[in-house]
């Protein structure tokens, strides 16, 4: 369960941001945007160290009082950012990883859509969520 998911283009503009409707959307936009600082830093460190390039999961980007922000970067430098409620201790690293993998799969599906032009903002609010989630709820679940 995440309170916000975001897909960021290689050039760092948002392709898709969706957050729980109960909260201030702008706050999550800012949170995702600021997390790119850490993502950028991690990516550049990755380039330097030439660590296992296939590891796409960046881990916890930074904690705030109320939320935890996780990151993931694809090989084409598209970034996924997920914001999770800090109080939700049930979410372990493994769950986060699998959520990112699902998100990556959904994103791949969007990319496979012949009517989608890579780099365009993803217009459909539900594009990256599974069918079961397509009713407006407080939290984003897979």
């Amino acid at each position: 369960m995440a309170v916000c998911i975001a897909v960021i283009a290689k050039e760092n503009y948002p392709l898709y941001i969706r957050s729980t409707p109960t909260e201030n959307e702008l706050k999550f936009h800012y949170m995702v945007h600021t997390s790119l600082d850490v993502v950028d830093e991690k990516i550049s460190a990755m380039g330097k160290a030439l660590v296992d390039q296939r590891e796409l999961y960046l881990g916890l980007l930074y904690p705030t009082e109320d939320y935890k922000v996780y990151g993931y970067v694809t090989n084409s430098k598209v970034k996924f950012v997920m914001v999770v409620d800090s109080s939700n201790t049930a979410l372990r690293d493994n769950e986060i990883r699998s959520m990112f993998r699902k998100l990556h799969n959904s994103y791949t599906d969007v990319m496979c859509n012949p009517f989608y032009n890579p780099g365009d903002r993803i217009q459909s609010r539900w594009a990256l969520l599974p069918v079961s989630a397509s009713s407006p709820g407080p939290l984003i679940t897979w």
Partner: protein, 1133 residues
């Protein structure tokens, strides 16, 4: 209560140091005492022991010690920690009192002085009654002391003095006032430090001893208090490890206390204090992770302890302070060498502190919104008798009351009201901004540009709430471009909305217009109704009217703003604003596109300006002008309509000057380029679009180059990537995305209407005058003037080619080095329509290889375009690549007179030089003549006549010559002897008579000349006949200056009988010749081996028969016998 009640007390934040007081020093009037005091105070660096010194008079009254409690049974504590306690032990109760006294060991009035000193010590002791404070005496002496043990009087008197003062020997010190004062002082203070440590040790023991009397029910507070005291004394003792341990225990005890609304503040205050101490010590011990973990634990434990709902802003304030204090500690540790990282730096704590400060502001706003008529209670419930609280974290109106029930609800209500009213006066925004700017500074340091921008936005918004619009605007404007460049439109829109409010409230025209332009644009995520409102306001502003106020603005601020706007209207002055579009995303987009990447000078230059508006309603513009790099064209590209101000509102969608939202408008411009600009680039430097008009207010949107704003490059990239099919539009409309900016074009010369032909016979032959016939024919309708021809080697090729290529118009003479490689601007005259002219060019190529030749014909012609007469310069060029080859190959060889190949020639002995000239030219060559120019070292044997005169060689044919030469003896020449030159004069067979003959000089190879001692040549007929005598005469010539002994023998051969000397030994005199005559008688027909002549020179063993064979024939053809014999044989058959 002061507004800074949340600040941690100074005595908590300082580093506790042992407190030692110095008495008996007169630092004002006594220079020696002054020097001693200065030595204690000055240069207290880290290497000195941590003591805080204070000079006090000898009779100073120290705080009274309360009588010792014998039992805790009936004692009920009133609070956790007294507010004065820390200060008392830091600055009031010393660990050691030092009595300074001037006394030398040889003092004559020793007795009196001794008793005076004892009195002084006694006074100090009196004042410290009941305390464990140590006392020490320092004798200031004028003389340098003798080494210990030597001064008998000194040790006696020292013992006596100790006795009189009731001091142990360890507490008596001597301070000789000599040169090494600082050294003595350092030794002294080390000794003081030991005493102080002993004092604090006993204090810790004393506090610990209370523990056993306590019980868990009534003395819970004391557990915390005592633990805190132990920890604090440990710190004073500089035992930080134990201090940390005790603080941790104290922290746990604090949270074990029963919490209730009435004491929650006290618990939190103490927890905050202890947490601060723990974190501070962890950083000091270089275990920052422990500090962070402790702080997290602290926050998690205290976050929910909000306390009274009416005073919930207090909790937020306290939380904010906790984060700020931790940030300060973290930052301080970094300054002392700790390294922080991007994801763990003080910035996060300042940021969180700022959030709590914001929360505090919000809570205060909702809780403290009392009517103006509510008066501050009198008497002030927050006042105490002493002006301070007795215990940390208690309410002033119920100090020391431990009951959880509110004994006096009325009093409580008044107290809460007082706090709320006080809170109303707090400058929250100031607090928030300070915290945010602290955080900004940190994030800047730790490479978090986006976090920094976000915090700056918050600062800007806070300034907006604080009504400091100038600062707000400055900050917002600064970060806007970051969000714009990264394409975060939602965030940009939010910032712009605030910025628009600020600019409205300050009536900043230009800013107001700029933000409006962008909020109406495609980067704005505002809803259409908002956009409509903004557009309406923008039109109002352009018509020199006031806009409607922005929503959610402070009512009073709006009133002020409306006045400002009214002033703006009446204010005459510059009302034209130019705004550069490249820095933001305005609602009008512009693209300029030349119809072609180049235009001929005789056709008009055409380009389109495409405009598209993204605002919700149509908008008129008053002027559009285009600027070029050559400003002379600007005047042709202006659209202007004298529209009256009131027309702007009218919905003239059909009008040319009106932009309909979403529709692309195309405006065609046309001008005639100047002939001077041929070959130059015409560039659109800017496009200016004026909205509004000059009588009202006017905004000039300025696009640099051919349009495009802050977002368009990314959009163009996306459009280029897209393979989406665009729906078909009516003919006169285009898709905005499909328009590609083309902001420059080349002006090129008029298309020539002449033909240039080249006629020649490739390849060229080296050094020949290669003929290139240029034919120019005019196809123009009118006469062309000033026809000029430029021909020759095309520039830009290998520099060596330029030196080895020569061009001339005159083929009758050979050209030399002085001729150029390129003939420029040869005037050819005028040509009438259809007329043709021919020009011959001769090219001489000195080296083989391919060359590019350029033939360039230029002329002038008069034409008319768009009713303008212009003189056009046209040109046409042709290039041709010509290969140059050697006309022929010359091979030279030396052979003996027997036509045998010679490696070397022998002095004075004739040999043959054979030349072989093989034609490599695809065209027939005529060898006009050849000539052999011999070097002086060579002589000819017979006439040197050319044998190949006027020979015509086809491709692959060869012509050979043979010359008989002799080389006189020269002695030994290194590297051989020059032979001379072979000169061939030739031309193409097809060449005309007047074409000069080319002389090709070939340097003949050097030849090695060798002397031989004996030369033998034979005189013999060219053939023999079976059974017919064959006379052979050998001539033996001595070529040396010696008499030669020669052994000659002739070996018989099967094919011959012979007569003559078969073996002989003879002498040949220098320079003479000996003849040997033999008569050979052939026995067999065919090519037969002659009887071989063997010569052996006794002086020259190197002279071998092999060498000999070179000069004399070894075989001869023998014909069969005559016909007579043949007849008989036939008959026999």
């Amino acid at each position: 209560m002061s507004p800074t009640q949340w600040d941690l007390p100074v005595e908590l934040c300082c580093r506790p140091m042992a407190f030692v007081t110095l008495t008996g020093l007169d630092v004002v009037y006594n220079a020696v005492h002054r020097a001693v005091w200065d030595a204690f105070c000055a240069n207290r660096r880290a290497d000195r022991v941590p003591i805080s010194f204070k000079v006090l008079p000898g009779d100073h009254e120290y705080p009274k010690c309360r009588p010792k409690r014998t039992s805790y049974e009936w004692y009920i504590p009133k609070g956790i920690l007294k507010t004065g306690w820390m200060n008392k032990h830091l600055n009031l109760v010393p660990a050691l009192v030092v009595v300074f006294y001037e006394l030398d060991w040889d003092e004559p009035q020793w007795k009196e002085k001794q008793s005076e000193c004892a009195t002084r010590v006694e006074i100090v002791r009196q004042s410290l009654q009941g305390r464990n404070t140590k006392v020490a005496v320092v004798l200031i002496q004028k003389k340098t002391p003798l080494p210990p043990g030597e001064d008998v009087i000194a040790s006696e008197r020292a013992a006596a003095l100790c006795n009189a003062c009731e001091l142990s020997g360890k507490s008596l010190f001597v301070l000789p006032h000599t040169d090494h004062l600082v050294g003595y002082i350092i030794r002294l203070e080390n000794a003081f430090y030991e005493h102080a440590q002993t004092y604090y040790y006993t204090e810790i023991r004393r506090v610990k001893s209370h523990k056993e009397f306590l019980n868990k029910t009534t003395h819970q507070l004391l557990f915390v208090r005592h633990q805190f005291k132990i920890a604090f004394f440990s710190e004073l003792k500089q035992d930080t490890q134990n201090a940390l341990k005790n603080y941790r225990t104290a922290y746990n005890l604090v949270h074990e206390l029963r919490a209730h609304e009435t004491n929650i503040l006290e618990i939190k205050t103490m927890a905050g204090f202890i947490n601060y101490k723990i974190c501070r010590l962890c950083f000091q011990h270089n275990t920052p992770l422990d500090a962070i973990a402790q702080f997290r634990k602290h926050i998690d434990l205290c976050k929910k302890k909000t306390g009274s709902a009416e005073l919930s802003f207090e909790h937020a304030a306290w939380m904010s302070k906790q984060f700020q204090a931790f940030g300060d500690l973290f930052d301080e540790a970094i300054k002392l060498g700790l390294t922080a990282i991007q994801t763990q730096n003080p910035g996060f704590y300042y940021q969180q502190a700022a959030y709590y400060a914001q929360e505090r502001k919000q809570l205060a706003k909702s809780l403290c919104n009392h009517e103006a008529s509510v008066m501050y209670p009198n008497p002030d419930p927050l006042e105490t008798q002493t002006g301070v609280l007795d215990f940390y974290g208690q309410r002033s109106w119920r100090q020391g009351i431990l009951s959880f029930d509110l004994s006096d609800p009325e009093k409580e209500k008044v107290g809460v009201l007082a706090i709320q009213l006080k809170e109303r006066n707090v400058a929250h925004s100031e607090v928030i901004i300070t915290l945010l700017s602290n955080a900004v500074a940190q994030f800047k340091k730790y490479k978090c540009p986006r976090m920094k921008s976000h915090l700056m936005v918050q600062m800007g918004e806070e300034y907006y709430y604080a009504k400091d619009y100038t600062k707000a605007l400055k900050l917002l404007d600064y970060v806007m471009c970051d969000y714009r460049s990264e394409g975060w439109w939602t965030l940009l829109t939010s910032i712009l909305t605030t910025a628009l409010k600020c600019s409205y409230l300050m009536a900043q025209l230009k800013d107001y217009i700029t933000y409006s332009l962008e909020l109406l644009g495609r980067a704005s995520t505002l809803k259409d109704d908002q956009k409509s409102r903004i557009e309406k306001n923008l039109i109002n502003v352009l018509m020199n009217e006031s806009p409607d106020p922005e929503p959610d603005c402070d009512i009073f601020a709006v009133k002020t703003a409306q006045k400002l706007w009214a002033d703006r209207i009446s204010l005459a002055g510059s009302n034209i604003f130019t705004i550069g579009a490249q820095d933001f995303v305005p609602f009008v987009q512009c693209k300029a596109k030349f119809h072609a990447p180049s235009f001929h000078v005789d056709v008009p230059v055409e380009f389109d300006i495409y405009l598209k508006a993204d605002c919700p309603h149509p908008i008129r513009f008053s002027k559009l002008c285009v600027s070029f790099n050559n400003q002379e064209y600007n005047q042709f590209c202006v659209i202007e309509e004298a529209s009256k101000a009131n027309e702007v509102l009218e919905n003239l969608t059909q009008g040319k000057m009106c932009l309909v939202p979403g529709k692309t408008r195309k405006l065609l411009f046309k001008f005639v380029a100047k002939t001077e600009d041929v070959g130059k680039k015409i560039e659109i430097t800017s496009v200016d679009l004026a909205l509004g008009n000059e009588t009202g207010r006017c905004v000039v949107l300025n696009w640099q180059g051919g349009g495009g704003d802050a977002a368009s490059s990314q959009e163009a990239l996306q459009a280029a990537r897209s393979f989406k099919r665009r729906p078909k539009l009516p003919d006169n409309e285009v898709h905005w995305d499909s328009i590609i900016i083309q902001a420059s074009t080349m002006i090129i010369s008029r298309v020539p209407n002449i033909s240039v032909h080249l006629r020649h016979e490739p390849p060229a032959l080296t050094n020949e005058m290669y003929c290139l016939v240029v034919t120019v024919q005019s196809h123009e309708k009118t006469q062309i003037r000033d026809v000029k021809l430029t021909a020759g080697l095309k520039p830009g090729q290998d520099a060596n080619l330029t030196q080895k290529t020569h061009v001339t118009l005159h083929g009758t003479e050979l050209c030399d080095e002085s001729y150029p490689a390129l003939l420029t601007d040869i005037p050819v005259g005028d040509l009438h329509p259809g007329e043709q002219l021919e020009k011959m060019l001769y090219v001489r190529c000195g080296t083989v290889g391919s060359r590019m030749f350029l033939v360039y014909v230029s002329y002038l012609i008069n034409t008319t375009t768009e009713g303008k007469e212009i003189v056009c310069k046209c040109h046409k060029d042709e290039t041709v690549t010509i290969e140059t080859v050697f006309p022929f190959d010359v091979a030279v060889k030396f052979v003996s007179t027997k036509f045998e190949h010679l490696e070397r020639v022998y002095a004075d002995i004739p040999f043959l030089l054979m030349t072989d000239l093989l034609s490599a030219s695809p065209w027939a060559l005529t060898i006009v003549s050849s000539e052999l120019q011999l070097a002086p070292s060579m002589t000819t044997v017979d006439q040197l006549e050319s044998q190949v005169d006027n020979v015509v060689l086809q491709t692959g044919e060869s012509a050979s010559e043979c010359f008989c030469l002799r080389c006189p003896s020269l002695g030994n020449v290194e590297g051989g002897v020059a032979t001379g030159h072979y000169i061939i004069s030739w031309k193409r067979t097809s060449a005309m008579e007047n074409v000069p003959v080319i002389r090709t000089v070939i340097t003949l190879p050097h030849v090695i000349v060798e002397n031989i001692p004996l030369h033998v040549n034979a005189d013999l007929p060219s053939f023999g006949r079976v059974r017919e005598s064959l006379p052979v005469k050998y001539h033996l010539q001595n070529k040396t200056d010696f008499v030669q002994d020669v052994e000659i023998s002739v070996e018989p051969s099967d094919a011959f009988m012979f007569s003559g000397l078969k073996q002989i030994r003879l002498r040949i005199l220098p320079g003479t010749e000996q003849e040997m005559l033999y008569n050979f008688y052939p026995l067999m027909a065919g090519y037969q081996q002659l009887p071989s002549l063997n010569i052996n020179l006794l002086r020259f063993p190197n002279f071998t028969n092999q060498l000999l064979r070179r000069f004399i024939p070894t075989s001869i053809f023998v014909k069969p016998q005559g016909r007579l014999m043949d007849d008989t044989s036939i008959a026999a058959a």
